[in-house]
Symmetry: C2
């Protein structure tokens, strides 16, 4: 629609809603806030069902904007349409091919994660990142100021949506706290819900008010409400993302007993610190596993125990295979964690050795059904040499495809595993 043009890029253009040949189900409104009211009035007249309002300049700018937003809401109520937004990026819905967010590169293949976000940026950010880690979405909704359809509506919708297995959310504030806690408890009772709530401190609450006009609320009340509702909390986009990776590859409540393994004494020692600090446990190995591993690793300078130190960042493949076979079936272990430092192990194993090691971990993941997590990183930042980065990505993809949870750091792994044990 455009009042001045008759044709744009070969598509016929209409001057206003009334002139359209048929009534649209959904209107995607990208004009400035102060010009929106006339169009919304037309939407009400012709019987549009829903409107996504992208523009900022409503409740997020204070009083005059709030009046505009109230007026829009009144038009929706009387005209019988619903609003997503204003001040949002709208909807990405691979199930019907509707990508109304700035996500030209988003997959057309639906997945099983629903993501609701008050931040437009983060809705796009998380989607793109999750996609490049092999995760897909049933829908992503950036809903901004939540003037009409709000977080509680969306939670209830996705709680009942059979194609959504996980719900993730980025929240700044809520309109009705009691209703939200109800919706949240209902959602969390039906499927895992991971929420990132911002606005914990004074300066960020100031930012929340000017971003989406929400009231962030007190941090203590939020903590209590989220905990009580059975929600998994995450802080930051990385934590949200890797909590989803953990959930998808290990399921809810996989257990907290980890076997911390890697090559080099420092790796296991540090891993043990991080794991226990985050509430995980490192029980001693079962005696039979200890005996078998000692047999397998006798010649490589390993220290058999939990943590399990293979001695060097990558040992010969036959010994690695034997050790991981035992590690993945040790009866006192819920999750096997292996620390794989690509550019550190490279001189010992080469690219083929590293890919083979990753394949072995994926094989045991499949064969035993027991969760396996790999901490995978390269510490190479050299300009003009992306060898390790390319290898890293191939290994990461292979592991994820094989059902192994992959994390960029031990801290990330430990926090995610702790978080999904409710």
């Amino acid at each position: 629609m455009n009042p001045r043009e008759k044709e744009i890029m070969g598509h016929e253009v209409y001057p206003d809603i009334r002139s359209l040949p048929e009534t649209p189900d959904l209107v995607y409104l990208t004009i400035p806030a102060h010009r929106s009211m006339n169009v919304l009035r037309e939407c009400a007249e012709v019987g549009v069902r829903a409107v996504v309002i992208i523009a900022a300049g409503f409740r997020d700018i204070g009083e005059p904007g709030k009046e505009l937003e109230d007026e829009a809401l009144e038009l929706a109520r009387t005209g019988g349409f619903r609003i997503i937004g204003p001040n949002c990026f709208g909807i990405y819905n691979p199930r019907n091919g509707l990508t109304l967010t700035p996500g030209y590169d988003f997959s057309k293949t639906p997945g099983d994660i629903a993501f609701i976000s008050q931040s437009g940026s983060y809705s796009v950010h998380l989607t793109r990142e999750a996609q490049s880690l092999g995760m897909g979405f049933s829908a992503v909704v950036s809903y901004g100021n939540a003037s009409d359809i709000n977080e509680s509506d969306l939670l209830r919708y996705f709680a009942r949506d059979p194609e959504t297995a996980y719900i993730a959310g980025y929240l700044e504030g809520v309109s009705d706290g009691r209703d939200f806690v109800d919706a949240l408890s209902e959602a969390a009772a039906s499927k895992p819900v991971v929420l990132w709530k911002v606005g914990k401190v004074e300066s960020s609450r100031r930012a929340v008010a000017s971003h989406t006009g929400s009231l962030a609320g007190s941090s203590e009340i939020w903590q209590a409400a989220l905990k009580q509702s059975g929600v998994i909390q995450a802080s930051g986009i990385d934590e949200l993302l890797y909590t989803l990776v953990a959930l998808k590859k290990m399921g809810l409540n996989p257990g907290k007993r980890v076997l911390m393994s890697g090559g080099g004494g420092g790796l296991g020692t540090y891993g043990a610190d991080i794991a226990e600090e985050n509430g995980l446990e490192l029980p001693a190995l079962d005696p039979s596993s200890t005996a078998a591993m000692t047999e397998a690793l006798g010649r490589v300078g390993a220290v058999v125990g939990n943590p399990l130190d293979l001695g060097t960042p990558m040992i010969p493949i036959p010994e690695f295979e034997a050790a991981m076979r035992e590690a993945s079936t040790n009866p006192t272990t819920d999750i096997l964690i292996f620390d794989l430092a690509v550019n550190f192990a490279y001189p010992l194993a080469g690219p083929d050795g590293l890919e083979r090691a990753a394949d072995i971990l994926a094989e045991y993941r499949r064969d035993t059904g027991n969760p396996v997590a790999v901490v995978l990183y390269s510490r190479s930042y050299d300009v003009g040499n992306v060898t390790f980065e390319e290898l890293l990505r191939r290994i990461r993809q292979g592991l994820l495809n094989g059902g192994v949870a992959v994390f960029p750091s031990m801290t990330r792994a430990a926090r995610a595993i702790a978080a999904i044990n409710l």
Copy 2:
């Protein structure tokens, strides 16, 4: 030296120490533990000055190994030589070109950081990573079991070394707690000291005992001792590394008042959360800066304040330049933080726009002398497409060369800035 060969790769080989044509200053011993005593006896006889013992199998394996280690130490005492190790990777010293660690690719150009590490793996790991971020070393010493030359000796040495400006360390335990605290206080009084101490929990203390045979000691006592000594604490290799980045680019005690800036409401909101949670402050902008920024950013949908939300991940360069000029001189700011999401801002700015934005931040860093920190990341993991990664590395290098501190996440930035404010 080799008892069986007369020549290896064109170099003449001698059967034992006694047969050498002249007395070596330093012997680098790579044979197994139980065969070391005869060679050490020879070292004592001919007057060798120092020996690096690489092999494990001493105190780290318990009683029989401890006897060997005591014997080695006795030979050193009576023979007048010093020992580094055993169970270590030895020394990297670019000042005399001596790279006795597995670091064939380590720079021959000295820098100003000394790193002492009980873990061989981490000594190599940190060196390589720091190097690819443009930081160099006066020396790196992997000292393992610390049978003779220990952490306190090394701290005292580097405290007095005029070419060392920063001391970093990875510690599992110490031999003499009182002496260590003395050495540490002396070192921290002369230059910034960053320590990563592991062995905080029961399972990691077990690992420490079998790794370097050290006593990790109680977590509480350690905390108190480190704090009292004026030491900067770090946990993990990334935190150690980025604390060094922060120190080198901003100096000790740069102040805690940050101006949190970026494009998109979510970024600033989240950044404010993270910053305050880590003890940083986000004071309101000076009125004159507010006025100037409002003028500069009036048309781009920015929210002027602290956090400063530019509206989108990258605005047009003239507006960006004007806003950052004000931001870098705002009187209530100690450190300007900018959140630069490469693959998110890419569609808006292109590679040239992003590199130009980075140049502008580096220019203001130089012109004003005020610290600038950039949070720089790409969220692209796609196999076969490293465009963003290559751009990221170019931008990172340009920023670091320009004196800007670069961090891979807001959490990393906030923690590092908080840590270097003692």
